[in-house]
Amino acid sequence: MATFDLLNNTPAEREQFFITLYKKGFPTVAKYVSKMGGSFDEAKDIFQDALVIYYEKTVNSSIEINSNEQAYLLGIAKHLWAKKFRDDIKLVPLDSYEDENGFIESDYEQPSPNKLMHYLETAGQKCMELLKAFYYDKLTVNTIAGLFGYSGVHSASVQKYKCLEKVRETIKEKSLAYEDFIE
């Protein structure tokens, strides 16, 4: 089982994690996609989406992955391939579902880049990185305080809520001005 210590979820650790998963999982997925008539680029796209899903399952400790990573990645890839095929022939509308927090997820395709994201990436990148560390990478507040150079867990927490407020207010302002900012 390729996994890493959540306390040490740094870019370098993630790189090693993904290299391992790539070497173990990509040949099987590529073989499957090729057998189904897909191209190298399609295999790559599907595998990379599967890695994102795998990562999210791994950091979310409430979900245990019981099978080995190779089988698990192939399973996700098959699902994504079937979905892609359905969507391509447009028999089934793009479905979305709510995750356990009630957020609508547009499956695992990246929504098209938009102005709001661009704004937040440039004007508020430090905040976005901090929020990613808390909510997506699920790092502990101690680790985050160290990584981002805060004096303690309290100031890291305060900064988290300040950033969330900033993002929230930005979305609100921009959305009220431009309805099409939000997809």
Binding site: Q48, N101, Y108, P111, L116, M117, L131, V158, K162
Partner: protein, 87 residues
């Protein structure tokens, strides 16, 4: 923490179901009293969606750089060849 940040925390606790029973009841009462609160919840949900979108995009960029490493560095030539032979 200033009041508005406390409220952000309360909304987060509500969204992620992390509030204690007492706090959850209090929050439900606040929802009835303060008509703006449900809008704040909506915007905060959107903020979380955006953080997720940003995070996935960043993660995919990391994965793509791993891909480039595996498919461009001479040390990984046999891996690359094995994959390319499938197509």
């Amino acid at each position: 923490m200033r009041t508005s940040l406390n409220e952000i925390k309360q909304i987060d606790d509500h969204l992620f179901s992390q509030a204690t029973v007492e706090d959850a009841l209090l929050f439900d009462a606040m929802l009835i009293i303060d008509p703006n609160l449900s809008y704040k919840i909506m915007w905060q949900k959107r903020a979380h969606q955006l953080v997720q979108q940003y995070s996935r995009r960043t993660l995919k960029a990391e994965i793509e750089s791993v891909h480039q490493k595996l498919f461009n560095e001479p040390a990984n030539q046999s891996f690359r060849q094995r994959i390319m032979n499938l197509f």
